[in-house]
């Protein structure tokens, strides 16, 4: 067993393997100082909660406390490996500043109270708002970090019991475009590919996806392929130099906001050079003529002119993907949070469709998620979708829900697409939405244009409920704050980016009076006395497992069919991929294996949208376009971003994540190993731009535009010229100031017309140097995309506190790894 500093080496030791071979097991384990394996009383099965990879792990419990974690070697997702965030952030569960009692606002201040007082206030206000404004006065803004059972309960309460159309999640910020791109191309949400495709691909293309930081374990799998025989070739599309681009055969660094032009350029090459799989296109798709017509305007020179990429590199990228025997593509926020997000992500699907690269080992698309349970928010209908991937525009689908919930079909809003988060904020701003319940997310730091967001959330007209672990920046604006249990303190299931469902069991009690989110929602429903048409309680379940069983009935016959999964199976077998039915009890590794899609008019989740205007297609239009349910090749022309650099604001701002922090740092900021690796906001510029500003590593910069300003130390990196990068994690809970630190002070209120995902990667800013660093480097990791290109910066290290066990031989302590704990 080796020990390794996993802050210094986030991906751990290499375990090389060849194409088609099985990824070797490497079990990572981190225990509290002074605790040894034999001190652990129980190993409780769970999965990772600080990214979307869904790495299976066991939680170590001793003396009623969480004392560590260990990867599960036999799980299909991670083969034992864990991300540094999972290895260290469990410590945040026991932070002394966890919320232990509900808070209510009295004379302007939040004061502690009991559950009855807090819930009575929420119920009283709900009734008032329903009386005066109807269901449209009520909104729910949830998360990508709760459990499936909680989302489904929220969806039933919001859409079925209250009858509001305003239920969305912060998944809107991370994964809405993944869902929309899948719906546009394949008729329904549902990840086509599998993580196992990494084992078989000979070309892997990563579009706007710095996998090395966002899914470290998945990246380890690629690193192990790269270190083995027959390594895959990598295409990277990213305006920054990242660990992915360093490993790439071809790296395209487009000007932010021009992804669609670049993708059209690649498709132009594939089509004009006749590299298309005509048989696949003819048999399984519609829309090829329109696609060919549209991309005709984007020869490599034109695509290169728009995107600032060498036309030769575009041709080389096209050649690379076309040369693949098995092509795997992944897409993430570099596309999803940028101009023309859906249109660009759809072109990645189109590359696979025109090449016939779907449904075989190694030939797949992964439209990735950002958060651990984002997939469940989508499938359960707690974001802008109806439960079970049902189509709001298909009367029969809504009738199924009405029957399932035993409510009048008119009571379930379906007169328009479910309201997205930014529109809910707009309704609150105008005063027609008066009640907003925020669960497990922190919009006062994570939404764009924070000055505006603070003013909306802090408005006296809006009754704001915040349910969280800590007094977040959003909680500080709330009327009622509810203390919630978190991962390890409650039981439920969640599903990762490749449809793998895990059960996460309760290991310890939550602190103080904190309760699970599910219990809080069910308590609210009882106090509101929600009833179905026969006067029975709605929802009619009482604990996680009964909620899961109810969800299974809702999922039956839909693409995300869970009917073959039980808690008991998840306990004994580990992760299972949906759809899982009695016909397919082992689950389904890859979708669309026979070129069949869930795109038939009566089946599909969405009739699609105009990618430029966002106008939904009418059912009759879709029926005429795609009567037999083939995949849709959807095309779009390039439209420039709504905010472009000017003489006064010459830089394009892009925001993003770092490996060591998650979301607004509510947990990772409270784990010393992680926080010390990236303790403070920084700004990245290219060497040339830094020279033009006369600025050096560590100098204090000020970034300004009409929406706000912030100060950050400079890190000079391999980012493209004219672009400045800020990590978005840093807010105000751990410092006195309440302005000038969060990247979203500067971002623009704008969203993709189709997916409604906010655009965090095209704001214009001015940058000036305000003070010398005097030898202090930027507080940015050196191990990641923020690696310095100048010398003299000490490398990021975790030291002894960050040392983690890596078991090279899974057999050495056999029987120890299977944790059926609880």
């Amino acid at each position: 067993m080796g020990r390794r500093d996993r802050i210094a080496e986030p991906w751990g030791r290499r375990t090389p393997y060849g194409r088609g071979a099985s990824w070797p097991v490497r079990v990572d384990a981190a225990l509290e100082d002074g605790i040894r394996g034999e001190d652990v009383e129980r190993w409780v099965p769970s999965a990772s909660i600080l990214h979307s990879n869904g790495d299976a792990l066991d939680i170590a419990v001793a003396g009623g406390r969480i004392v560590g974690v260990r990867g599960r070697g036999e799980d299909r997702v991670n083969h034992g490996r864990l991300d540094p965030k999972d290895l260290f952030a469990w410590r945040a569960n026991a932070s002394p500043d966890r919320l232990r009692a509900p808070l209510v606002r009295r004379e302007g201040r939040l004061v502690e109270t009991d559950w009855d007082t807090a819930m009575d206030e929420i119920v009283r206000t709900s009734r008032q708002v329903l009386d005066r404004h109807g269901p449209g006065g009520m909104g729910f803004y949830t998360s990508g970090q709760l459990f499936l059972e909680e989302y489904y309960t929220q969806a039933v309460i919001g859409r079925g019991a209250i009858g509001t159309n305003h239920v969305d999640g912060n998944t809107r910020l991370c994964t809405a475009t993944a869902a929309q791109a899948l719906k546009e191309s394949f008729g329904s949400d549902g990840q086509p590919g599998s993580y196992g495709d990494i084992d078989h691909a000979d070309v892997i293309a990563l579009y706007g996806h710095n996998m090395a930081e966002t899914q470290t374990v998945l990246w380890s799998r690629i690193l192990d392929r790269l270190a083995g025989p027959e390594p895959p070739r990598i295409l990277c599309v990213d305006p920054r130099r990242t660990p992915v681009s360093e490993a790439a055969t071809v790296h395209l660094a487009p000007l932010p906001g021009t992804n669609l032009a670049l993708m059209n350029g690649i498709l132009h090459e594939l089509i004009t050079r006749d590299l298309v799989d005509r048989d696949y296109v003819d048999a399984h798709t519609v829309g090829f003529a329109e696609l060919a017509d549209r991309v005709r305007d984007y020869p490599a020179e034109e695509a290169g002119r728009i995107s600032g990429v060498d036309p030769g590199d575009i041709r080389e990228a096209a050649q690379l993907v076309a040369s693949a025997d098995r092509l795997l593509s992944t897409v993430l926020e570099g596309f999803y949070q940028s101009n023309q997000a859906t249109a660009a992500a759809v072109q990645v699907n189109n590359v696979h469709l025109v090449l016939g690269m779907l449904g075989r080992p190694g030939a797949g698309v992964l439209q990735m998620n950002g958060q651990p349970t984002a997939q469940n928010t989508r499938e359960c209908g707690a974001n802008g979708d109806l439960p079970g991937f049902r189509n709001w525009s298909n009367e029969a689908h809504v009738a199924e829900l009405a029957e399932l919930w035993n409510v009048d079909v008119m009571h379930i809003p379906h007169y328009a697409p479910p309201t997205h988060a930014m529109q809910m904020i707009r309704y609150a701003e105008q005063g027609s939405l008066r009640f907003l319940w925020v669960t497990a997310t922190n919009p006062a730091v994570s939404l764009p244009e924070l000055r505006r967001i603070r003013s909306v959330l802090g408005d006296d007209r809006l009754f704001l409920v915040v349910q969280d672990l800590f007094r977040t920046e959003t909680a500080e604006l709330a009327d009622v704050v509810l203390p919630a249990a978190t991962w390890g303190e409650k039981t439920g299931t969640f599903t990762n980016s490749d449809r793998t469902v895990h059960l996460s069991e309760k290991a310890v009690d939550p602190p103080g009076a904190a309760r699970s989110d599910l219990d809080i929602f069910l308590d609210y429903a009882r106090r509101m006395d929600f009833r179905d048409a026969d006067g029975n309680p709605l929802p009619n379940w009482h604990d996680p497992e009964s909620a899961f069983e109810a969800w299974k009935r809702c999922s039956a016959g839909r693409p995300c069919d869970y009917t073959g999964i039980t808690y008991e199976r998840l306990r004994t077998e580990g992760g299972i991929q949906w759809p899982c039915t009695s016909d397919r009890p082992e689950g389904t590794e890859r979708l669309y294996t026979e070129g069949g899609f869930w795109a038939a008019p009566d089946v599909c989740e969405d009739y699609g949208k105009d990618l430029l205007t966002g106008a939904p297609l009418e059912p009759t239009e879709y029926r005429a376009m795609n009567p037999s349910g083939k995949a849709v090749l959807k095309a779009a022309g390039y439209v420039p971003p709504h905010e472009s650099p000017t003489a006064e604001l010459p830089f394009v701002l892009i925001t993003g994540r770092t490996l060591y922090q998650f979301h607004t740092r509510t947990k990772t900021g409270r784990a010393a190993q992680l926080n010390d690796a990236a303790p403070e906001v920084w700004a990245e510029l290219s060497r040339g731009d830094a020279e033009r500003l006369g600025a050096a590593e560590g100098d204090l910069l000020e970034l300004i535009n009409p929406r706000g300003r912030l100060r950050a130390r400079l890190r000079i990196t391999g980012i493209r010229d004219g672009t400045v990068f800020l990590p978005f994690h840093y807010g105000y809970w751990d410092q006195d100031a309440d302005d000038g630190r969060a990247a979203n002070e500067l971002t623009v209120t704008d969203w993709d017309p189709a997916s409604k995902q906010p655009i965090f990667k095209t704001a214009a800013v001015a940058v000036r140097r305000v003070a010398a660093g005097e030898g202090t480097p930027a507080p940015a990791p050196t191990t990641t995309a923020s690696a310095p290109v100048t010398g003299g910066v000490p490398p990021t290290r975790g030291g002894p506190a960050a040392e983690v066990d890596e078991s090279p031989d899974p057999g050495e302590d056999a029987g120890h790894h299977r944790g059926n704990g609880a």
């Binding site: 109807g134 449209g136 007169y415 701003e429 105008q430 005063g431 027609s432 939405l433 205007t613 106008a615």
Partner: protein, 160 residues
Amino acid sequence: MKLALALRELHRSERNLAVCLLHVAQRHRADAGVSHLAGDLARWSRQHVAELVTVGGRYGLRMRAEPTYGSQQVARFWRAAGDRFGNRPEMGLLLLADLRKVHRKAAGVSVVWELLAQGAQAAEDGELLDLARRCHPQSLRQMRWANARLKELSPQILVS
């Protein structure tokens, strides 16, 4: 030939639609879901106008490509008004009225493109027909956008 009449009418109504969209974009700047798209869609109409000016030359028409009289000043006025009053509840009803206007104007434009396409076929003017085939779908998309926004926003504005 009366085709020139249709061209002139189309030029007039496309210019008019462009200005209308531009004003909507400014007036509803606080409503990002409307403002940005209205700006994008105004660009389509401006392109149509420019192309009509070129084609019109062949039919002896001398038409202006620029936006109409004073439209920039009016846009500035609406921008200031939008910034000042954009968050008032009454703006919701004004938005519905504006979207209805966009829908009506885009529908009008669309019908004239239809007429022009028919005329171009009868006149065997391939270039004009090609222009109509490229531009007409965009008019329809402008119309569908306004309709979609109306469908989405009206329940909240009318009931809550």
